[in-house]
Symmetry: none
Subunit: 204 residues, 4 copies
DNA sequence: CATGAATGAGCGTTCATTCAT
DNA sequence: TATGAATGAACGCTCATTCAT
C-alpha cells in the first residue's frame, strides 16, 4: 500500500498523540517536570502508562514534545501578527503588547523548561532545543529593531543586545508573575515599554 | 563564669555548618535540586549523611539555607556599595554595573531556585522566601529611582514598575547566560542600561 | 459480551494477592510487625518490592489485610460451627473447645496485632479494626450466654461481662502459650471451663 | 577505700540511674518500645544520649531494666498484702481485687512487654525474663488455691491450671482495657470473680 | 495497538550506637 | 562522668520503564 494520504489508522494515531501531548502539557505545567509522573499524564490522557511509551521514548521525550508543540502554537501566532505590521515602530509595539499578553502562558512554559533544565544531570546535553528557540526569537526582534534603525524610525542602537534585553525582561517578568501572583504585569509592561521604546524612537 | 563568647565547641559547629553549606551550594549548583542527592552533598562535605541531618532538618531546609547564605554574601555587598553613592544617578549606574557582574552567580542561584520551585508539589507554599527577597530588592531599587525623581535627576516615572522591570531584565539575562554560555552579558547590559537609564535622566 | 465472571486477568490478580497475603502472614508472624521488612515479604512471596505496593498501599495496609484475612478464615469457621449447635449449653462448650484449639493460631494473631499496636505512633487511631473484631465476637458470646439464661440453661448472670472475661482468658492464655511453649493449653482450658461453665449451668 | 556504705559518688550514680529508669518507663509506656527513641528517654530524663549509654548497655537493656523495676514495685506490694491475709478465701478475693486495681498499670506493662517481644528478631532469646515472672506469680496463685483445697475452703481442683487461667484473664482484660478505653473493668471483674471464685468455694 | 501488572534501582530520612572532648 | 556531634546501615516507598498478554 503506497497511498500518500494518511490512512485512517495514521490519523487515529496522530490524534492519540495529540491527546497525550495535551494531557502532558497540562500535567507538566501544573506540577513541573520532576513532580509530574508518567502515570499522571496517562491518567489525564485517559490511556494506560504503557501507551505513553508506544508514542514516546521516555518521559524526557514526552516533555520536550509537549513543550515544543505548545511553544509553536503560542509563539508563531504572535510573531505572525507582529510581522504583518507595516512599520518597525508598529511591529515593536505589537511585539511588546503581545509579550505582555503572552507572559502568563509563555512564562509558564519558560519556567517549566527551566525547572527541567536546572535539575538535569547533564545540562550540556539536556534541552539544547530551548536555547535554539531563544536565538530564533531574538533574531526576529533584532531584525525589527534594525529595520527601525534603517528606516530612521529608531536611533542607531545595538539591535542584537537590545533584542536580548527585551526578551530577558519579559521572561523575567513572566517568572516573577508566577512567583508573585499579585504582580500587575500590564502596568509594569506599560511603564517599561514606554520608557525603553519611546527612547528608541527618534523624536518626531 | 558565663562566657558570652562562643566556645570552641560552638565555633567548630559553626565551621562544620559552613562547610556543609558550601558543599551543598556547590552540589546543588552543579546538579540542581532534584538531580542532587543528599549523599552527594555529604560526600562533597566530607561527612556522613547522618551529619547533614544533624545540622539541617531536610534536603529542602539544606537547600534553602545554602541558597540564602550565598545570596546574602552576594547581594548585600553590592547593595551596600550602591547605597553609599552620593546621588541617585550614581546609585543607579552602580546598581546596573553590580548586577552586570553578579548576573552569572546570581542567575545561577535564580535558576537553582526555579528548578526547585517549578517542581514543588505545592508551589503556593514552597519557597516563599525567594519572592520575599525579590520584593526587598525591588523596594531598594524603587527607592533609588524615586530619590532620583525627587532630586530632579530623573523624569517622573512609575518607579515601582521600572524597578521590577530592571530586576526582571537582569534575572532573565542571567538565565540566558546560563543557557547560552557564549552570550556577551556585559555588552548587552551596556546597551540596555544606556538606553533605559539615559532615558530616565532629565536632559542636562 | 459483558462477562460478569472474573476474567483470567482478574483471577490471576486475585491469586497474586493471596500469594502475597500468605507470605506476609508468614513473615509477620515469624518476626513481628517492626522486625519484618517489606523486602522480606517480597522475597517470601517471590515478587519484587514494587509489586507489593501495586497490591497494597503501605506496610501497614499489608499488615492489616494479612491479619484480617487470616482472622476471618480462622474465626468464622469456628463461630459457624458453634452457632449451629442446638442448645446454648452445647454452644458454650463448643465455643470453649473451639477457642482451645484456636488459641495457638489466634493468639499468634493477637500477639502480632499487639506488637504492632503497642508501638503505634498514634494508638488511638491505629488498628481500630481489631477492637471492632473483639466487640463483634464478644457480642456473639454474650448472645449465647443470654440465650442460655432465657432458656433456663444458665443462671441469671451479667452475660456481657462474662463474655468479655471468656475472650480475655483465652486471649491471655494464647499469649502465654506463645511465651511458654511448654504450657499445656488443653489441660488449662479444661480445668478453667469446667469450673466456670459448670457454675453457669443450673443444677439439673 | 573499703567502706561498705555507699559513697556519695555511688549514691549519686544510683539516683541518676533511677532518674533515667523513671524517664524510660514513662516514655516506653507512652510510645511502646519501637516507637520510643533513646533520645526521647534522654530528653525526658534531662540527660544527653551519651549518658544513657553510660548507665545501660543498649536500648534493650534499658527497656528491660525499666520494665522490671516497675513490675517489682507494682507486684510485690500487692502480693505482699494478699499473702498477709489469714485464710485462702480472703487471699483469693484480695488477689482478684488487687489485679482488678492493677489491671491498668500492670496491663500497660504487659502490653509494653508484648509489643517489644512480638517484634523481637529472636524471640527465643528475647525477654525470657518476663515468662519467668509469670511462672513466679502463677506459683503464688496456685499456692493459694492449693492452700484453700487443703484447708477445705475450696473444692478439689487443678490449682495450677486455674492459676494460669486467672492470670490470663486479668492480663487479657488489661489488654482489652488498653484497646477499648470505655470498657468497665471493675464490672467485668466482679461478674467474673463472683462466678468463678464462688464456684471454687465449697457450699457453706 | 493497548493494557496494566511487574520490576528494581534509587531516594530521603531515622536512630541506636560510638567517641573525641 | 557527661556531652553532643558523628556515624552508617537500614528502611519504607516511588516511579520510569518493560513486557506478557
Amino acid at each position: 500500500m503506497e497511498d500518500v494520504a494518511p490512512t485512517k489508522r495514521e490519523q487515529q494515531k496522530e490524534e492519540r498523540r495529540k491527546q497525550i501531548l495535551a494531557a502532558a502539557l497540562k500535567v507538566f505545567t501544573e506540577k513541573g517536570f520532576h513532580a509530574a509522573n508518567v502515570s499522571d499524564v496517562a491518567a489525564a490522557a485517559g490511556v494506560s502508562q504503557g501507551t505513553i511509551y508506544w508514542y514516546f521514548d521516555s518521559k524526557e521525550d514526552l516533555f520536550q514534545a509537549a513543550i515544543l508543540s505548545a511553544f509553536e502554537e503560542l509563539g508563531q501566532e504572535t510573531m505572525g501578527t507582529v510581522l504583518m505590521q507595516a512599520t518597525a515602530r508598529e511591529k515593536l509595539w505589537g511585539l511588546v503588547r503581545g509579550m505582555e499578553g503572552l507572559a502568563g502562558q509563555m512564562g509558564g512554559l519558560f519556567m517549566l523548561f527551566l525547572g527541567y533544565w536546572a535539575s538535569s544531570p547533564d545540562r550540556a546535553k539536556a534541552g539544547q532545543w530551548w536555547p535554539n528557540l531563544l536565538v530564533e526569537y531574538k533574531d526576529v526582534v533584532a531584525g525589527i529593531i534594525e529595520e527601525g534603525v534603517k528606516t530612521g524610525e529608531c536611533r542607531p542602537v545595538d539591535a542584537e543586545s537590545l533584542a536580548w534585553s527585551l526578551l530577558a525582561t519579559y521572561n523575567g517578568l513572566a517568572a516573577y508573575a508566577a512567583l508573585l501572583p499579585d504582580l500587575d504585569l500590564v502596568r509594569i509592561s506599560r511603564a517599561f515599554s514606554e520608557t525603553l521604546i519611546k527612547d528608541l524612537e527618534v523624536d518626531a
